[in-house]
Symmetry: C2
Subunit: 280 residues, 2 copies
């Protein structure tokens, strides 16, 4: 089997590493976006060859799109326009509804499997690719009923090889859960970084005091803006809702401190503390 | 040398472990607040004996206060009222200005060294005590000039034994940096937990999607509310300032998404991303 990966960065590169180790395929061909990252991907042995997207769609049995979500629709349409009935295409993007809606009337819709492996680090690019990134994490496959059974089987085999646990969900449900849990986490971290950079003018103090919880809480703010800004834009509706709740809670917290409401402050924090029971 | 620890939880218990391993003292005596945690501290071998605070101040050469900051002033005054000129008392609290202000006229002020070892985990109680918690982290000693030189030397020896790097700071400077870096991190994490618990009614989804950045960003919300609420109250002035900046930034972020200001959103995130350069 031959696999093509569009976008050989953190996600695509990490998948390539594990697929190769597991002998999932005989060849991995890559479609990159810049000469520098293409050369890096070759040098690191993530892909065997760099090819044009035309060649990739001609040759590959399974095509994986790991480009940022703002380029995804365009690439997916290109692939579906050229795909044959024995080939499968999937994507690893963090939004699903807007992508699925964009191709829902495409005659080759059923060769596409919408998926989102919930894995990542704050790093990006081919050099950020690591082994076992996906292992034991959750992968969400959306709107399974709109894909051909053999395409679903191919994509399930792919994620099983990566060691993932597969869940099935409606695309809009996926986007809601992703906004309410993962995307708001990234946003709170970006806002924390922006706040600390504005208020704290002593960079040495930031580094020295980072051990007091800042470093881990701000980690996601190191994530690629080029990757994440389009995710926030595409998931706007659910995201605005959860951001409004976040702002409201932060105001409430502020007022409890400001007005010396000691009992209520403690109570608010004890309720938030319940997250312990869920994340055992 | 004999060391007394008031409050044998995560911080006091972890210090006890390392001091014992390093043979810093011949005996560690503990002053706990509940029978259950006293028994636990004895059972875990964190302390050799549990004693009353009167006995502790009579016997110990170095007294370490690791109680929550809302009990700290009262305990510190008790110790200073009874301390002899060969004894030293220090605290490990996360606020400094309000504590130092409360005892600044005390005749035994100079036997007190105000310090804040910047180390911790999200767990609490004697069972949370771990070895090497403090190793290679920063410890801040405040208003050094108001303590006797031999008291400072004792406390420096203590933190050197724990493997910490010592910095010196004015108490109010400490509180500002702590608010702007560490305390706002805790608050953003508590608010994230409160938000996700309110919006996301599917607990299984929280657990399944936690790997997408939520788990690490929300970690600090697992911290003890009884320990942290008093810190926020005591550091109120600096904290309200930085919370206001945080709220303003979050609103701005929200509006950039809402109004489809793609370029500005990317730019805002790229600026926040600069935190990478500081936290190399």
């Amino acid at each position: 089997m031959k696999v093509a990966i569009f976008g050989i960065g953190l996600i695509g590169g990490s998948a390539a590493k594990d697929l190769r180790t597991a002998n999932f395929c005989t060849e991995i061909i890559g479609v990159g976006r810049s000469e520098a990252s293409n050369n890096k991907a070759l040098e690191l042995g993530l892909v065997d060859r760099i090819v044009s997207k035309e060649i990739a769609v001609q040759e590959a049995d399974v095509i994986i799109l790991t480009v940022p979500v703002n380029s995804l629709i365009q690439e997916l349409i290109f692939v579906l326009d050229n795909i044959q009935s024995h080939q499968t295409v999937t994507d690893m993007g963090s939004t699903k509804g807007i992508i699925i809606d964009a191709i829902k009337e495409h005659p080759n819709r059923k060769r596409y499997v919408a998926s989102h492996p919930m894995a990542g680090t704050e790093n990006s690019g081919p050099s950020a690719a690591i082994s076992n990134l996906f292992k034991n994490k959750i992968c969400i496959i959306c709107d399974k009923e709109n894909s051909d059974a053999d395409a679903i089987a191919n994509v399930e085999a792919l994620y099983n090889t990566l060691g993932m646990r597969i869940k099935y969900m409606d695309a809009h449900q996926h986007d809601m859960h992703a906004a309410y849990i993962s995307h708001i986490s990234h946003i709170s971290s970006f806002v924390l970084a922006a706040t600390v950079l504005e208020k704290e003018k002593d960079e040495a103090a930031i580094l020295e005091m980072a051990g007091g919880g800042f470093e881990s809480t701000v980690r996601l703010a190191k994530s690629s803006p080029e990757m994440w800004a389009p995710i926030f834009q595409q998931n706007k509706n659910y995201l605005l809702e959860v951001m409004d709740t976040y702002i409201e809670k932060m105001y409430h917290f502020r007022n409890l401190i400001n007005k010396n409401k000691d009992e209520e402050l403690l109570h608010f924090m004890q309720e938030a503390n319940e997250i312990r029971k869920i994340l055992k």
